[in-house]
Amino acid sequence: MSDLKASVDATIRRFDNALNASGFETMSHGDNPKDWQWQGNLPGSSEAVTVKLPEGFPFMPPRVTLPKRDTGNSWHAESDGALCLWDSHASGSLPWLDHKQLLERTQEWVTNEDEGWVKDSPDLDLERYYSSWIDVDGKVPLLVVSDWDKIAERWFMLRGDISGRIEPEGRPRTSYMVLRSKNRTHIQRFMVGRALNLGELAGPRVTREELLQRLGTSRTGDARELLHKRQLVVVARYTRQGLPAYVSFVLSSTQSGVDGIFVIPTAESRPEVLTLRGGNNQDILSKKRVAVVGVGAVGSFLVDQLARSGVGHLHLVDYAKLRPGNVIRHLSGQQLVGASKTDAVIARITGDRCGGPEFSTAPFTTTVDDTQSLLTEYDLVINATGDRLTQQLLQFSAEILGKTFLQVCVEGHGQFARVDVCPPLDGAPPLTSDGLLPVDLTLREGGCGDPISPTPPSVCIEAACMGARHAIGLLTARPLHPAGERRPMGPT
């Protein structure tokens, strides 16, 4: 037997010992964790408890059920009655391995259930309460709603793609009959959907009968009659404590799935949702204009980070074209080879996600007029060229105009990533340049005047991210450091 298995067995024995000491009886046991089951009562109570282990124990919580209670439609129990005792964040410290915590938590659950969960924060993932999820060739698709108002209480076609994304397509109609007549050539080949607003839900489980009743009859299309001929996807909007969320159900004439319905996980793609994870500075950054000079190995990733963080306007300055050999150390992919680096970066960012910043471009920054424009018209200028001549020009102009800009680059062909605040704030001394070792440059590519720098892609990305953090610090008036940051990246 492997040491890993022996350790899992030892952990189960410890758990068994502890539950027995708490008055629980071991009802079954075996070689696999899921063979183990206990029964007992909560301490000082007649509330019966059953504890079973999942196969992933001890790194998955035990399944605790209350055999004398109906937890069928609780927001805090799985479809099989297992109590939801810990969320993913609390699970990190494996609290269930302390049997006292397990029993206390179960008691808390009982108390909260009896009191109606007054301090509940709403989970908005209704699909996890259902055990029957639709799958296509073994993969669970995701239904994406981009504009609920467009489809609400209407009928529409649904199209899927190979990645498993399904979304409403075409013009939604007020009745199934109209949808069918307008889509005669496609209707048999595509899924039909209907959007329903379920409102504030009292419990997590919606039944097939409830959905059919809501779908109704007469002019809007008799759902029961429709189901004799084909499946129907119901895209539902619901709220919990006023917060909206979505789930989709697949209904068919056969009573398959659990309770006759399958579930498709559903997500929104409206702009507000797309930027939810962009960080806490979006309100401020959305009003900022930033110029990035050089959108190559460092600059392309830097621009991407600033766009993701919510900067309102990005002005990109670069004259070069994207060559095949650039791609390994660039934000853009092979399909954009041949475009200018500025266009390639914009295409990559705007093609990847909806919304995002406004963009403008320019090919060069070579004169003091160019730099004066940048430094006065933009809230921040970032030199990501790695070109010392460009740095000289910007530094000269910034000192005279009394402006601050950032230099973001890689030093020593990958030995250091550095961000310089130019000039340093509050008279702080600038960063040093010590510790650099000489590097032999031996790689060349036809069409490139300079030898190829051996800087690893990861160092470019790290420099870009450092640059983005410092840029955001300056833009939100909370500079991270008056002079910047210089971080060793290891030997090249």
Binding site: A10, D16, N17, G40, L94, D98
Partner: protein, 339 residues
């Protein structure tokens, strides 16, 4: 507490009679058929049943002897025990003639022993009995002394009731107790019936299932039964509180053993019960398992009855890592992390 659920289950499997049980049944049937074929036994209304540890389902491997209780419902009162035993032996001698020049039958005390070498040295003790009101009479250990009263079915009924009362844990615990006696005393007396009776009475002291302080594991029942038995054995041995014969309420249990044998079992049982209780209370599985292993000893083939858990070394030290609650071993400790 170290309950070692799987290991106690495996130990019970290790001492389960299995093939012995099948052979015992076959041997009984042969003896029964042989006696029934005799006109006298047929006339006397013979009904035979298996009694003893086998009937009460508390036999452990290896089953070497089986008791067949031959109820003679219409035995004439003129028959004395000596004559009855001699007649029984004659009938069985005919059915089971000598093999390799060695007789297969022998009168031993109150029964006739029949050897079954084909069943791995099993022998059957056929005990003739006559009705005596609500109980039965069997030859005394010295048949010349007349009849003794007994009621073996009654103990079997009591055992079954005890087993039902305690959620079927009683029978397995008695098997473990009998195995413990074998490990501690070997062939020395007192034998398995004595400890079984002591265990039966010990269960009177146990909390009932579902009640306050009820035991929840085989380990807890086993250790606490040994504990209660230690006092009972001492008191029976020194005569201060002899055990009652469950087969004959009001009758003291009579067991053959010398003073030295009584002293031996008293001392060893007290040691065993202390060790068992300490192992039960232990927070360390491996040393506890080593203790239970030593208490339950080895089977006839020299294999340990009680297995050590995987992750335990033979010396009782632990080599398995137990996963503990908490986040101390994580680099970020309790801090929320995101990826």
């Amino acid at each position: 507490m170290a309950v070692l659920t799987e290991q106690f289950d495996d130990a019970l499997t290790a001492i389960e009679p299995d093939a012995d049980a099948t052979n015992a049944k076959k041997a009984h049937e042969q003896v029964r058929d042989a006696l029934k074929a005799d006109p006298s036994f047929s006339q006397w209304g013979l009904e035979s049943i298996l009694i003893g540890s086998y009937m009460r389902h508390v036999s452990i491997k290896r089953v070497k002897d089986v008791d067949v209780f031959c109820k003679l419902l219409k035995l004439p009162s003129s028959y004395n025990p000596v004559e009855l035993l001699q007649h029984t032996q004659r009938v069985l001698d005919k059915a089971f003639p000598p093999r390799n020049g060695q007789p297969r039958t022998e009168i031993q005390g109150r029964s006739v022993k029949v050897e079954f070498p084909e069943y791995d040295e099993l022998h059957v003790d056929a005990v003739p009995a006559r009705p005596a009101d609500a109980v039965w009479e069997i030859p005394c250990k010295n048949p010349g002394d007349g009849w003794d009263q007994t009621n073996p079915e009654h103990f079997s009924i009591l055992s079954s009731l005890r087993n039902d009362e305690f959620g079927t844990i009683y029978v397995p615990v008695v098997k473990l107790v009998r195995q413990t006696r074998r490990a501690l005393l070997g062939l020395a007396k007192p034998g398995g019936l004595f400890v079984e009776v002591a265990a039966y009475h010990a269960f009177d002291a146990h909390p009932r299932p579902g009640g306050a302080g009820a035991y929840t594991s085989t380990a807890a029942y086993y250790a606490n039964t040994l504990r209660v038995m230690a006092d009972a054995i001492r008191n029976h041995a020194n005569g201060t509180q002899p055990l009652e014969n469950p087969a004959m309420p009001g009758q003291e249990l009579r067991v053959r053993a010398t003073d030295e044998e009584w002293a031996n079992i008293t001392t060893k049982w007290e040691e065993a019960s202390s060790k068992a209780m300490a192992a039960l209370a232990s927070q360390q599985d491996c040393p506890a398992a080593k203790t239970f292993r030593e208490l339950l000893g080895q089977d006839s083939l020299g294999s340990w009855v009680f297995p050590l858990p995987s992750g335990c070394n033979p010396d009782g030290t632990n080599r398995a890592v137990v996963v503990m609650p908490g986040a101390d071993r994580l680099p970020s400790k309790e801090s929320p992390t995101f990826g």
